[in-house]
């Protein structure tokens, strides 16, 4: 029981960080950004190769974060400057990143089992008593996600954050405020993909290796988490949307784990995901009444 709970929490928290990124693009920017399927493994690839070359694991988190931001900026530039539709910009970036990730890591699968990571290093070996070690990963993840969530909450209350929220809500208003809506979108995509790559970096360190196929379906997990979270907690206004999204990610992982423990085969996972996704969408039956562009 405890093992299963810890497993769900670990996976849920890592994907929760990723879901925060998807929350920015999908909910705030109203931009279905598929590039996350590439930026999640991008974080993993960057981390694996850096750790192999002896870079401090904590530093790899920072570098992955910025690598993700760069990828987000490129998606944004494709959309804003080259005037490619949002969905297509993401698909283009996701496809390109597959090859880029292979280039970065040098191969499709890179192990870092024997290297130090943020979860396993000499500091923890000395500091952490044995009885606590099973909870170390969850505690660290919790610590990281709380910081990320708080930073995001704070950011959304700044002037820049206000503008970000405005651009997804009503592009015309951003123009009226004498700001370039394109720049704001690019900024939003950068932050979102930075968070996703950070999650990818943490995931690689947690599992001890990078694998190219890991990114497949990231966007689905992200969207499912965002939709589950924001819909379940819609009525509880004291829950911040960011908190709801993280809980959504944990619930999503719980559902998947439940499905498998019921005897469903892992090969049916995608079908379960799709069904779950659909059910949530129907239940919430959310219709957006947003002003689109210069309607």
């Amino acid at each position: 029981m405890l093992t299963i709970l810890l497993g769900i929490l670990e996976e849920g928290l890592v994907y929760g960080i990723m879901a925060l990124g998807v929350y920015i693009t999908y909910k705030i920017l109203d931009f279905p950004d598929l590039s996350v399927d590439g930026t999640f493994p991008l974080g993993g690839a960057v981390t694996a190769i850096l750790i192999v070359s002896g870079v401090n694991p904590v530093l790899t988190l920072v570098i992955s974060f910025f690598a993700g931001a760069v990828a987000g900026v490129i998606t944004g530039l494709i959309h804003v400057k080259l005037k490619v539709r949002d969905l297509l910009s993401g698909i283009i970036m996701m496809t390109a990143l597959y090859s880029i990730n292979l280039r970065i890591a040098g191969r499709a699968n890179l192990s870092i089992f024997s290297k130090e990571s943020i979860f396993e290093n000499f500091v923890w070996d000395k500091l952490i008593p044995d009885f606590f070690s099973p909870y170390l990963v969850v505690s660290l993840l919790f610590f990281i996600i709380v910081i990320m969530k708080l930073l995001l909450d704070l950011y959304l209350k700044t002037r820049s954050g206000y503008l970000l929220r405005a651009v997804g809500d009503n592009e015309a208003l951003v123009t009226s405020l004498a700001k370039d809506k394109g720049t704001v979108k690019i900024l939003g995509l950068a932050i979102a993909n930075a968070l996703v790559a950070l999650a990818g970096s943490i995931y690689a360190q947690m599992s001890g290796f990078f694998e190219i196929s890991l990114g497949t379906g990231t966007i689905v997990i992200g969207l499912a988490s965002v939709i589950i979270g924001t819909n379940i907690f819609k009525r509880f206004t004291y829950f911040k949307a960011t908190t709801a999204v993280i809980i959504g990610a944990i619930l999503y992982k719980a559902c998947v784990s439940f499905a498998i423990s019921l005897g469903m085969e892992a090969s049916d996972l995608k079908l379960i995901t799709a069904t779950l996704f659909l059910v949530i969408l129907i239940v919430s039956n959310e219709r957006k009444r947003r002003v689109k562009g210069n309607a």
Partner: protein, 331 residues
């Protein structure tokens, strides 16, 4: 209505959290989880061999052995989920077939010190599952399926004395293939061959890549590349049109219509792995105390029907040494 569905959903999720509690376990029975990364002939044979090896070692499925089996269908995320699930179900040992599955299993199992036995991992050292001296990198050991590259090239030279170029198709996203191609390129000149490689990224690329490659080569040779092997019929069709022979990398491919191979017997590989697992289950040795083993004993397999089609006579010395010859092409 909405509320009803929503509460049902939440209940389901809560039940999911509790489901791990239920753990029916018979006295004296051990439970193992077998995780297989992808679905294709050699890996399937591996699994069957593994169960046979366990039986030889005294663990018979259904009697004193409960087997949980999951296939990740070549998805890294699913592999991790499978490993976590095995852990949640408190298996006594995880058997992992193919590299990414082994890594996921190791990653999930190391916290709880559950032993992992891998098989069909081409390079356990590179995957950091073992050290250079073959000693395990933790509570994990198993068998490696290194391709017998030199023997294969030697065989191709005997079958096609005039051939100069060998085409190899592989997916750039599979580590095993990438390292195998390197080895082929390094060794091929010793046998008077030039290797022409063609990297693909998805199965959808295969038809075009095959057309392209077939223009330039005297024969094709397969690796144990999951993507390419899954699309083997497409490649065989195209090669047949041009009357170009295709060599396989293991017996299942020869059954499907490859001319010949000097390949590993994945069933045997599985058996050997199963015996190692039995040793660990009996408590004689810990997985961390057993070095991983490499199987390099390869034998010749040929397909007479394919040879007839191509108008090639397989050299007698090879046919005589064959472990098995096939007279038909299985669909």
């Amino acid at each position: 209505m909405k509320k009803l569905i929503m509460s049902a959903l939440i209940l389901t999720m809560a039940a999911g959290l509790l489901a791990g509690c239920a753990n029916s376990k018979k006295e004296g029975q051990v439970t193992i989880g077998i995780g297989q990364f992808a679905e294709h002939g050699s890996l399937d044979n591996c699994r069957e061999g593994f169960l046979a090896g366990l039986a030889e070692g005294g663990y018979v499925e259904g009697e004193n052995l409960k087997v949980l089996f999951e296939n990740a269908q070549a998805d890294g995320g699913t592999a991790a989920q499978i490993a976590d699930n095995f852990m949640a179900k408190k298996v006594d040992l995880i058997a992992a077939i193919a590299t990414p599955m082994a890594q996921s299993a190791y990653s999930a199992a190391k916290k709880k010190d559950v032993p992992v036995i891998f098989t069909a991992v081409t390079d356990p050292v590179m995957a950091e599952l073992a050290k250079e001296d073959k000693t395990p990198n933790g509570n994990i050991t198993g068998t490696s399926d290194k391709l017998p590259v030199e023997k294969q090239l030697e065989m191709i030279r005997k079958v096609l004395p005039e051939a100069k170029t060998i085409g190899i198709m592989y997916s750039t996203s599979e580590v095993n293939s990438v390292s195998a191609i390197e080895e082929y390129k390094a060794v091929a000149p010793n046998y008077g061959f030039e290797i022409i490689e063609s990297g693909i990224s998805t199965a959808a690329d295969i038809p075009l890549a095959a057309d392209n490659l077939l223009e330039k080569v005297d024969c094709l040779n397969n690796l144990t590349d999951n993507t390419v092997v899954s699309s083997l019929p497409v490649i065989l069709d195209k090669a047949q049109e041009k009357n170009i022979p295709v060599f396989g990398s293991e017996v299942e491919q020869v059954k499907l219509g490859c001319l010949a191979t000097v390949g590993l017997d994945y069933f045997d590989l599985g058996v050997q792995t199963g015996k190692m697992a039995a040793q660990v289950l009996r408590g004689e040795k810990k997985a961390s105390e057993i070095n991983f083993e490499v199987i390099e004993e390869a034998s010749f397999y040929g397909n007479n029907a394919v040879a007839d089609q191509l108008g090639i006579t397989l050299p007698e010395e090879l046919v005589n040494s064959a472990k098995e010859m096939f007279d038909e092409i299985s669909e």
